[in-house]
């Protein structure tokens, strides 16, 4: 950077000032763009904003000019009546189409603007904040008019009533519609700030009843391999037939259940003839929509024991309460033997943060948000039983409220208008 630069620039500014003070209009655009730029050696660029500006402005102007209508005098002077009529109609049509065009200028004049799925022009009673009149519309001194004041109004109206019958009628209607019935600010009567909550949206019944089957029969249980194999076969085992008779489900409904064998180990009975080995199985079954059951089976044949336990689990299915179809109602405790556990209700999207056995049970029952802590012994079998007991021991808040004689409102349902 040279020392001479400031002095030079200073002269520049003098020059420029001298030039701009001249009343020359022909170079007005160039002078406006080349304003004094101190301490800058870069060439002067034209203003990027005005790059397309003048041309576009001219375009818009020309459109407006074209549509500018002739006055009636001009038309009548220069044209025959038929022509004049035609011109008038054309002008009307053009005016209307120009209005249409200007009302949708965003589309016509700015093709690059984004098109919105939600145009934000309407107020959604659920999503948007309720539009309320401002606080200033409230008037503490507002009150209903007394009888005397109302009669005064009527008297005043009678005195100023027009003569014609039709006029009188319209005036009366006008009076009835507009005459105020309160004293104080007019906004307090016509547009008061209401304390009433906005109307909520439509309640959506999303959860099926616990006993109902999910609508989609295509979903198949991954755990019920053995049973599925049975279902595919031509011959149906007597055990399956008995299960179908007991539960009232057909084969397709049974295959739609989520059945999973989660615990298996070898057990031995020592007799005087020797050891008798058997395989123990524990399975859980559920329709993933509020039904859950557990079943134990034991057999010398492993597969047989598994099927036995699965069928028992299906038979033992009972409805389990779920809050919003995703979690449990409050925290619950369960106890089986030395195993004690606690299940905790959790917010949406929390997931199943619990150990494998409780996880499988929750999957089968259709619970998606839960936390669990097994506080004492962690025997797998007892854990499953204790969790089952805990899930069953949930209390309905509605029943609690009835018992106490209170009214209960689920604030989540009110706040989100049932869309939770």
């Amino acid at each position: 950077m040279s020392v001479a630069r400031p002095a030079k620039c200073l002269f520049c500014t003098f020059k420029q000032a001298a030039r701009s003070s001249k009343p020359s209009t022909s170079t007005s655009t160039s002078t406006s763009t080349s304003a004094p730029r101190q301490f800058s050696s870069s060439p002067v660029k034209p203003n990027p904003r005005s790059r397309h500006g003048p041309a576009k402005q001219q375009q818009e102007k020309s459109v407006v000019d074209e549509i500018r209508p002739l006055s009636e005098e001009q038309i009548n002077q220069n044209y025959t009546p038929e022509q004049a009529e035609a011109i008038k109609q054309t002008q009307q049509y053009l005016k209307k189409s120009f209005e249409d065009m200007t009302s949708s200028t965003a589309r016509n004049l700015k093709p690059w603007t984004m098109t919105y799925v939600q145009p934000m022009t309407e107020i959604d009673p659920v999503l948007d904040k309720a539009v309320k009149a401002p606080w200033t519309n409230l008037d503490d001194n507002s009150r209903l008019k007394t009888e005397g004041e109302l009669t005064e109004d009527i008297m005043r109206f009678m005195q100023s009533m027009p003569d014609g019958e039709k006029d009188a009628e319209t005036a009366l209607q006008n009076f009835l519609a507009t005459n105020r019935i309160t004293v104080g600010k007019p906004e307090a009567e016509h547009n008061p700030r209401s304390a009433i909550a906005p109307q909520t949206g439509k309640m959506v019944k999303q959860n099926l009843l616990p006993g109902q089957q999910p609508a989609d029969p295509a979903q198949k249980s991954k755990g019920g391999r053995g049973k599925e194999g049975e279902g595919q076969d031509q011959e149906v085992s007597p055990a399956l037939i008995r299960l179908m008779q007991m539960t009232g489900y057909n084969q397709r409904q049974l295959s739609a259940l989520r059945v999973k064998s989660i615990i298996s180990h070898r057990v031995v009975n020592q007799t005087r003839l020797g050891k008798i080995q058997k395989q123990y199985w524990l399975s859980v079954a559920g329709n993933q929509n509020g039904l859950l059951g557990i079943g134990e089976g034991k057999s010398e044949e492993s597969a047989e024991g598994m099927i036995q336990s699965q069928y028992r689990a299906i038979r033992n299915m009972v409805p389990v309460m779920r809050y919003e179809g995703r979690t449990i109602y409050g925290n619950v405790k369960g106890k089986e033997g030395a195993t004690e556990l606690e299940l905790y209700a959790r917010p949406p999207g929390f997931g199943l943060r619990c150990q494998q056995y409780i996880y499988e049970m929750c999957r089968a029952a259709g619970i998606s948000d839960i936390a669990a802590r097994v506080t004492r012994a962690r025997n797998p079998m007892n854990t499953v039983k204790a969790a089952f007991q805990a899930l069953q021991s949930q209390k309905d808040p509605e029943e609690i409220a009835k018992g106490r004689g209170k009214k209960l409102v689920d604030v989540r349902k009110v706040y989100y208008a049932g869309n939770v």
């Binding site: 109602y329 409050g330 925290n331 619950v332 905790y344 209700a345 209390k395 808040p397 029943e399 609690i400 409220a401 009835k402 018992g403 106490r404 004689g405 209170k406």
Partner: protein, 170 residues
């Protein structure tokens, strides 16, 4: 303000509702009376009547008793009989289940717990505050002794008053 007495009362009321008793009695004191009235207010018990060693007549439990009810007057408290007064509580049951399932102390006689509004707010939201577990079970209530009297924790939060935690009821 004896928390030892209160502990006994908590156990006694829990036991009485487990045993499906129609009504039970607790020793008379100002603290017990206020707490019993709060329990009644929250809908855990049906009636609170101050009486003597024998339970008051049944119709007193079902109406508002007073000293001038003809035939069944409530004995006015005097210096002579005040020591023998008891509070008779009417227990409630719904769907063959006790309405008051469990009542347990939070402050202990050897360790009293006071809590400010922020802490109480946490508890009411079901979170832990200090060493006190939140109100996680549905319909659980926590009664707090404040300088505005005994009240429910939710009311405390509403009125922005802290105080000594007395007992959890569910």
């Amino acid at each position: 303000m004896s928390l030892v007495e209160l502990a006994n009362i908590c156990s006694h009321i829990s036991n009485a509702s487990k045993a499906r008793l129609g009504f039970t009695s607790i020793p008379n004191s100002k603290l017990h009376l206020k707490l019993a009235l709060q329990l009644q207010n929250s809908g855990f018990i049906s009636t609170v009547v101050r009486g003597g060693a024998t339970p008051p007549p049944a119709h007193h439990l079902l109406s508002h008793p007073s000293s001038n009810t003809p035939g069944h007057e409530i004995e006015p408290i005097t210096r002579e009989n005040v020591a023998s007064r008891k509070l008779w509580l009417g227990m409630k049951y719904w769907n063959s289940e006790p309405v008051l399932e469990k009542m347990e102390l939070v402050s202990k006689p050897t360790r009293r717990i006071w809590m400010d509004v922020e802490g109480l707010r946490k508890l009411v939201l079901g979170r832990q505050s200090g060493y006190v577990k939140g109100l996680g079970k549905p319909g659980e209530c926590l009664f707090v002794s404040t300088d505005k009297g005994i009240m429910e924790a939710r009311e405390c939060v509403e009125r922005k008053i802290g105080g000594q935690l007395l007992c959890k009821v569910r």
